[in-house]
């Protein structure tokens, strides 16, 4: 970190008091239905070197409040209160005055790295621009050199060359690093990171958080990190502020909040996170309902309509933030906080969630259950084309390279891996029922290669799909009734049958019969995903293929959908193929798990075995990258940070495909390494139902 020392003063300027002090901040926007009170009286401060986590669901005002600090809100926003940066009032400054502070003393990292950089300039130029915007004496060459140093600092290998690359040549994780490089370029006093890892894979998320930590160390800046995921900030933040409906509803030291949440909302949020370290399967806590509309908010606690602990008094006045647990540090806005203090109940109790009973079939030993889906040595290669517009073939992508697994009745197999590992391709091959490039797929004992038109139709009936994006998976021009009717029409159900089945299906997924009349746009993401599930159930399938069904949803809503899937599985004895990148979700829902890396399965087996005692270093790294919503555990965890990105599947490494990023390999003596370089490991059994493809499997504690 020699470069860093020359670029940054190690300590924050020793001015006293907080770097940022926000008081009584309100922000409102005009909208068709009236003024949206996006932020309603927010107070917080951040000191130098401190990390403040702001947590809340979509629409809670967490992003709006930080954009207000940056002065980046649209013109029609009405802002009042006070935002003091180092005792200087920022509200009311002109754009010119603000632009001298932005990027120089306060900087920001945004959510979506893919669109955060201007596509037409090189990454190096964009970093240099940030430097030159504030250091007018800096020459072009100096700025460029420093940009390269910064890229190096944030962990971009071969920085001098990569600085000349355009954003589209960078992966998502690399772009986010570049954005962080821009943010720290001028040694700011405050960095605001707005969901910096939401759009990224877990392994990349761990890397980016690591870079942010480095950034904080070298700049000594205060950090505000905004997130909807309580797991992400557990090990990173010092203090936490939970926001709901434009207000802080609980603030305090991280440890206290995670251990003793004093606002039912926080309690629910914590309970909704599927935990990797859960000993046994517990039901998740969904927070039912929607955040309130911020136009003409009714009096009383805004969380009251969704709160399991609501009493009449809650609807009378909005409770202020007040000290709880006798501590000035920990404050909550709930009139029943004292009861939570007295009883310290867990979330499932408060939200009255019941455990799902196991299906009868789950009690039958696995070997005796029929095989629903078997995939054998599946291969799929794509031509690799270059250029977004002028396409030409330059190679072959080995998307899936010999994948085998099977799923038995009433069982859930989780298929996990980083994006680009081939899991979605595997899924599309299974769903396509077409000729395969290599290997074979059998569904309910029928090989897809030997299907007649008739039997293909029948198989389509037994295998249904639920997609990732609840916005895109329903035809926006069809009322829900028609959406649900479509598969039944295709398969020749009678009109009466369809008409009676639609309310049944809606009821099954927790919606009401009247909803059949409405269009998808009228539903929230979670509700749409339920509709997608209802459509999949319409034909009473045996197998449902789920492609990242909850990854686009907020955690509290995700919990409801996961519970629903659990419930349906037990009730209807379904088998699931559950594709996901989030291992904690998979741990929660799956019976078995297969971990994919670069088109191959590197580890497969029963969930408890794989998660409890992972043998493949990649599985270990994936598990280690998942944050645990427990600050104490999180701080003491030794995290495995994978270096670099997933290698291109067009040119997979020789020998073991994982060796380029493998920490075990790196630690091996020279003579043993050769084996990893030359010989591709095959799946070998470890225990009853666990196989891993590694030459040197060794146990490692990752939780």
């Amino acid at each position: 970190m020699t470069a860093a020392q020359t670029m940054f003063d190690e300590q924050a300027p020793s001015e006293n008091g907080p770097v940022l002090r926000v008081s009584d901040l309100t922000v409102s926007f005009p909208s068709e239905s009236g003024r949206v009170q996006a932020v309603r009286g927010l107070n917080y401060e951040v000191s130098a070197g401190e990390v403040l986590g702001i947590v809340g669901e979509s629409g809670s005002g967490k992003s709006v409040s930080s954009l207000a600090v940056m002065g980046l809100l649209p013109q029609q926003a009405r802002i009042s209160g006070s935002i003091k940066f180092r005792d200087r009032e920022l509200l009311g400054l002109s754009d010119d005055q603000l632009s001298k502070i932005r990027g120089k003393r306060i900087s920001m990292v945004f959510q979506d790295p893919l669109s955060a950089l201007t596509p037409v300039y090189t990454v190096g130029d964009q970093i240099a621009e940030a430097l030159r915007a504030h250091g007018h004496s800096m020459s072009k060459q100096q700025a460029h050199n420093r940009a390269v140093e910064l890229l190096d600092l944030v962990g971009i290998p071969n920085a001098a060359n990569r600085a000349k690359a355009f954003p589209h040549e960078f992966s998502g994780g690399m772009r986010q690093r570049a954005v962080i490089a821009i943010a720290i370029a001028n040694d700011p006093d405050l960095i605001i990171a707005d969901e910096p890892t939401t759009a990224l894979d877990v392994t990349v998320q761990a890397q980016v958080l690591e870079v942010l930590k480095t950034a904080q160390e070298v700049t000594g800046a205060g950090i505000v990190i905004i997130t909807h995921d309580l797991g992400v900030v557990a090990g990173f933040a010092d203090r936490l502020m939970v926001m709901y409906a434009g207000k802080a509803v609980e603030t305090g030291q991280v440890d206290e909040i995670y251990a003793h949440p004093r606002m039912p909302y926080t309690l629910g949020l914590l309970g909704s996170i599927p935990r990797l370290d859960a000993e046994e399967r517990q039901p998740l806590v969904p927070i039912e309902g929607q955040p309130p509309s911020l136009v003409d908010l009714p009096p009383g606690c805004p969380f009251a309509p969704r709160c399991p602990m609501v009493v009449d008094a809650c609807r009378e006045a909005e409770p202020p933030l007040s000290d709880v647990d006798g501590s000035e540090q920990h404050r909550a806005a709930c009139i029943r906080a004292n009861e939570l203090i007295a009883e310290d109940p867990d979330a499932a109790e408060v939200f009255e969630v019941e455990a799902v009973e196991e299906a009868a079939i789950a009690k039958v030993p696995r070997e005796q259950r029929p095989i629903v889906l078997s995939v054998n040595e599946l291969v799929k290669h794509f031509p690799l084309t270059k250029g977004a517009v002028f396409k030409r073939r330059v190679g072959t992508v080995h998307a899936v390279d010999g994948v085998s697994f099977d799923i038995r009745a009433g069982e859930t197999l989780g298929l996990v891996g980083e994006s680009g590992c081939g899991k979605t391709t595997t899924l599309m091959e299974i769903l396509g029922l077409d000729t395969l490039m290599g290997g074979d797929i059998a569904i309910l004992g029928n090989l897809t290669t030997s299907l007649t038109k008739q039997s293909r139709r029948e198989i389509r009936r037994d295998m249904q799909v639920v997609f990732q994006d609840p916005m895109a998976s329903l035809d926006p021009r069809m009322p829900i009734g028609d959406v649900l009717a479509e598969p039944m029409q295709v398969h020749g159900y009678s009109k009466q049958k369809i008409a009676s089945r639609i309310p049944e299906l809606l009821d099954l997924v927790g919606l009401r019969a009247e909803h059949a009349e409405r269009y998808p746009a009228e539903f929230s993401g979670g509700q749409r995903q339920r509709i997608g599930i209802a459509r999949a159930l319409a034909l009473e399938p045996k197998l449902i293929v789920l492609d990242e069904p909850v990854s686009a949803l907020d955690v509290s809503i995700q919990a409801g959908v996961i519970n629903l899937l659990d419930e349906l599985k037990a009730k209807l004895e379904l088998a699931y193929l559950f594709v996901a990148h989030d291992l904690s979700v998979v741990r929660h829902i799956a019976d078995r798990v297969a971990v994919m890396y670069l088109g191959k399965i590197v580890e497969i087996g029963e969930v408890d075995g794989v998660f409890g005692d992972a043998k493949h270093p990649y599985t270990q790294a994936l598990l280690s990258a998942i944050p645990i919503p427990d600050p104490v555990a999180e701080r003491s965890r030794e995290r495995i940070i994978l270096t670099g990105d997933l290698p291109s599947p067009a040119n997979p490494p020789r020998g073991c495909r994982f060796h380029t990023r493998c920490f075990t390999f790196a630690a091996l003596p020279e003579d043993k390494r050769q084996r990893c370089l030359d010989e591709e490991p095959v799946l070998a059994a470890h225990g009853d139902d666990q196989q891993a493809a590694c030459h040197f499997p060794r146990a490692r504690a990752v939780l």
């Binding site: 068709e32 996006a38 979509s58 649209p74 916005m471 479509e486 059949a516 509700q527 034909l539």
Partner: protein, 348 residues
């Protein structure tokens, strides 16, 4: 600025402009209202758009005037008033007379009839053609697609105006319906390319995939999922095509390549009025005015329809019309700009 206020989070409300306040997800307690038929909904939304409504009224009035005025107008378009050559508008000749004593009002109405009919027919023919060809090419790809793209490229090099001008001697003296057919046959390509581009993206939508995986037949997918989801584009394009067809017709007729005398269209009237535009402005201004007003009205209605048809668009269920109109205008502009840009990219 079109900043979505609700910029945090994973897109739970991302589809709705204006942030969470305007979202009204069906909450569990809401009373389910009766299903409104699609058509009724569209009509209601359209009616909220003042500009579009005015446009529609104008179009209806123009049609009514063109087809009903002969019933009560003092002169018919074949009559000549030998006492009045080149008189300016008056009580008996509302739009004045021509140099041979024809009543300009009757002539303009007759020309309007012809132009309106031609516009409507051509718009219908070319839009249907482009929807069919474009969606098929886009959905199936392969050689169908390549052949179509080549045709479109060819049309860029050989504008339809040129083709029709060259062909004009062939239908001289024949019925104007041939002219209509040719006009329709040579104006579908650009829209088809836009449709194709959109089909490419729609084909990858998850709901289309879902339909494919449930065993739906390709042509049914095209009819049920692809074409309806382009309805807004097709409707805009149909209206724009009507406008374009009227302009093309008048343009060709202006040079004598279109509607042939003794029949009149707005184009032939404008052509004969042009020379004396400065001296006897009524010969030129009246037919021009009707032409411009009609095309303008058609374009405005196209925009209004887009808004009404798209359930996600802003104008639908909002109370504040002014704001809604602004938002839909953006959406519309985007749709417009994306369309040819998309087409252009595909071209490469």
């Amino acid at each position: 600025m079109t900043v979505t206020i609700d910029s945090d989070g994973s897109g739970e409300h991302a589809n709705t402009p204006g942030g969470s306040a305007s979202v009204s997800p069906v909450d569990a307690g809401a009373p389910g209202d009766l299903r409104t038929s699609r058509a009724k909904l569209v009509v209601r939304r359209f009616a909220r758009n003042r500009n579009a409504l005015i446009g529609l009224v104008v179009i209806v009035l123009l049609y009514a005037a063109a087809f009903l005025s002969p019933l009560f107008a003092p002169w018919s378009y074949t009559e000549l008033d030998y006492d009045n050559f080149l008189v300016s508008p008056s009580g008996s000749h509302w739009f004045g007379t021509s140099k041979v004593g024809e009543d300009m009002f009757a002539l303009v109405m007759r020309g309007l009839q012809k132009s309106l009919t031609i516009g409507l027919l051509v718009g219908l023919i070319s839009t249907s053609l482009s929807a069919i060809v474009g969606a098929t090419a886009g959905y199936f790809g392969g050689w169908v697609d390549r052949a179509m793209m080549w045709l479109v490229d060819l049309l860029l090099v050989l504008p339809s105006f040129l083709i029709l001008a060259i062909l004009s001697p062939a239908f001289k003296g024949k019925t104007w319906l041939i002219f209509v057919l040719l006009l329709g046959l040579f104006s579908w390509m650009i829209t088809a390319r836009i449709v194709r581009g959109m089909t490419f993206t729609l084909r990858e939508r998850e709901y289309v995939k879902a339909a494919r995986f449930m065993g739906q037949a390709p042509w049914r997918i095209i009819v049920k999922h692809i074409v309806p989801n382009m309805a807004s584009l097709l409707i805009i394009d149909a209206t724009v095509n009507v406008g374009a067809a009227v302009i093309a017709e008048t343009g060709l007729s202006y040079f004598g390549f279109g509607v042939q005398p003794p029949d009149v269209s707005l184009g032939t009237l404008i052509a004969s009025g042009t020379e004396s535009a400065q001296t006897f402005p009524w010969l030129f201004l009246f037919p021009s005015m009707f032409l411009v007003v009609f095309v303008l009205a058609v374009n405005v209605v196209g925009d209004g329809l887009r808004d009404a048809i798209d359930p996600n668009s802003a104008g639908g269920r909002r109370k504040d019309r002014r704001k809604a109109r602004k938002e839909y205008q953006d959406a519309k502009d985007k749709a417009r700009a994306n369309a040819p840009a998309l087409a252009g990219k595909e071209a490469s």
